[in-house]
């Protein structure tokens, strides 16, 4: 057995890509994000190169200065949104998953053979409103209120808003304010460039590139300003895009948003000026990885992202001794792995039988069998 130290991000399940040794976290598909970068940097470069010299001389030097500041702010917000952890909830370790299983089984009682077990839902009361917490079969947890599982990134995200391909990341609790400030500042920047291009056109013969900038700004304006308006509306009601789409608080069945302070100012303050939540992922922490030397082992040495077991079997939690964890986790993992294998998807509505229905079960079974040799 070769034991080596790896950073925890290398063993994180889910479909994220990591850069700069775990400092940067994004979704897998980044094509549209590069397009966003290209459009913003490209248009602004044209503006600085062709419009600003004229405007600075004939109108005011403050114009390009303000444009530069605004441009840097837009880029900072974009990169913050794209590169940060949106609020991913780590998956349950085997002991926690088993504990939850036992609680579910105790709550359900004996299900007669042939009948579907009831759906895994936990009811909690929040501000005198009953909220249903759903069980996530991929992450093996009951999702906290407002959390949702992103199928593109394959993670549960806290206060999940939506997955935005333009920024190449999910938008959730930790990066929602950066996302909002990005759309807001981009709206301002687009309006700014659009306005001064028109001014330039009016003041003298226009460059053909000016026309290009005007076109880009025109089309961007409608989408980005609209999006900013939509999110301003959501923030004032303290709702997420996800809840809005699902109609969670649309008012039917007397259901109201329990998270809203019923006051626009308070809602805005909470979302935009609330505490800055830390990431619970610990991407850059170190952990031990044991890779078997033999070539017949299933998958561990390939360190693919969908291989969560080495991390779950060997955590370096400061207060729990490592040497005991595998021995005691093994009976529970092996017992759970022996139950019938899983349907594929992470979130089936009403599963037929298996309590542990997740794609990882088969991987875990093979790894556990390797370790017992």
């Amino acid at each position: 057995m070769i034991t080596r130290k790896v950073r925890k991000w290398e063993k994180l399940p889910g479909k994220n890509t990591f850069c700069c040794d775990g400092r940067v976290m994004m979704a897998r598909q980044k094509g549209v994000f590069y397009l966003t970068l290209f459009l913003i940097i490209g248009t602004c470069s044209l503006f600085f190169a062709f419009e600003c010299p004229y405007l600075a001389v004939h109108l005011s030097p403050a114009i390009p200065v303000f444009a530069i500041l605004l441009f840097f702010f837009v880029m900072a917000m974009l990169l913050r949104t794209s590169f940060s952890d949106p609020g991913v909830l780590p998956r349950a370790l085997p002991e926690e998953a088993t504990f939850i299983e036992m609680e579910i089984e105790a709550a359900n009682g004996n299900v007669p053979a042939g009948q579907r077990p009831p759906p895994r839902i936990r009811n909690v009361q929040i501000n005198n409103q009953i909220v249903k917490l759903k069980y996530c079969y991929t992450c093996k947890i009951f999702r906290p209120p407002r959390a949702s599982h992103c199928s593109i990134c394959d993670n549960c995200v806290d206060r999940f808003d939506h997955h935005c391909p333009w920024v190449g990341n999910c938008v959730g609790k930790r990066n929602y304010r950066y996302f909002y400030l990005f759309t807001l500042s981009l709206s301002l920047l687009t309006i700014y460039i659009f306005t001064f291009n028109i001014v330039h056109v009016v003041m003298r013969e226009f460059h053909c590139l000016t026309v290009l900038e005007v076109l880009v700004c025109f089309f961007t304006l409608w989408s980005v300003v609209g999006l900013t308006g939509f999110h301003t509306y959501l923030i004032s009601l303290n709702q997420t895009t996800n809840e809005d789409i699902k109609g969670s608080w649309s008012g039917k069945n007397r259901v109201q948003n329990p998270y809203s302070h019923k006051n626009i100012i308070k809602n805005c303050c909470e979302v935009l000026c609330g505490p800055i939540y830390p990431s619970v992922l610990d991407r850059r922490g170190l952990m031990q990885e044991d890779s078997p030397v033999s070539a017949t082992s299933a998958a561990p040495s390939s360190s693919s992202i969908s291989n969560p077991v080495p991390q779950t079997m060997k955590t370096t939690a400061a207060l729990i001794p490592n040497e005991h964890t595998p021995e005691d986790a093994k009976p529970s993992v092996a017992a759970s792995a022996e139950k019938s294998p899983s349907p594929k998807d992470g979130d089936p509505p009403a599963p037929k039988v298996p309590p542990l229905a997740s794609p990882e079960t088969d991987v875990e079974t093979s790894i556990v069998k390797d370790k017992t040799h």
Binding site: E96, R159, L272, G274, I320
Partner: protein
């Protein structure tokens, strides 16, 4: 179970018997708060009041970190004005409180929980979802119901 003198001894001479997970209390919303309900598995191991004190203190730390008021507005506006670059060199208020929490848990473990054969895991290591409390049994004790297959021939210290 005999009493352990410190964390080191706990690690070397005890084996993990069970784990209890204290769940989140969502009755006041999504702010971080844990249930103070005393789990039955701990009944024979620790006094109810000590356990409740620990959880209540942790809850108050989290409430302090997540408080929305003058200080958080100031922090938010200042950070926004610097395009959040200020956090490259400064710690957020939440991170400062998390450090306090880590110290508190360490201290609680050393003074109260380890001598009773228990260990608390910092919730941040479990995604702030649960407080994991590990229950240890003395490795050499005959009445132990631990799931470990280790047969210990070690003599009592």
């Amino acid at each position: 179970p005999r009493s352990f003198h410190n964390l080191q001894e706990l690690r070397h001479s005890a084996s993990l018997a069970n784990k209890v997970f204290i769940q989140r209390d969502y009755s006041e919303g999504t702010t971080c708060k844990f249930q103070t309900k005393f789990p039955s598995e701990l009944e024979s191991r620790i006094e109810r009041t000590l356990f409740e004190d620990t959880v209540k203190t942790l809850n108050s730390y989290y409430a302090e970190a997540e408080k929305i008021g003058g200080q958080s507005y100031l922090e938010g506006c200042l950070a926004c004005a610097t395009a959040y670059l200020i956090f490259l060199c400064m710690e957020t208020r939440y991170e400062k409180v998390l450090k306090k929490i880590a110290k508190y848990i360490q201290e609680q473990n050393e003074k109260i929980y380890a001598p009773r054969g228990l260990l608390i895991t910092d919730p941040i290591e479990r995604g702030m979802r649960v407080i994991e409390i590990s229950i240890y049994e003395d490795r050499g004790s005959s009445g132990s119901s631990s799931g470990s297959s280790s047969v210990s021939g070690s003599t009592a210290r």
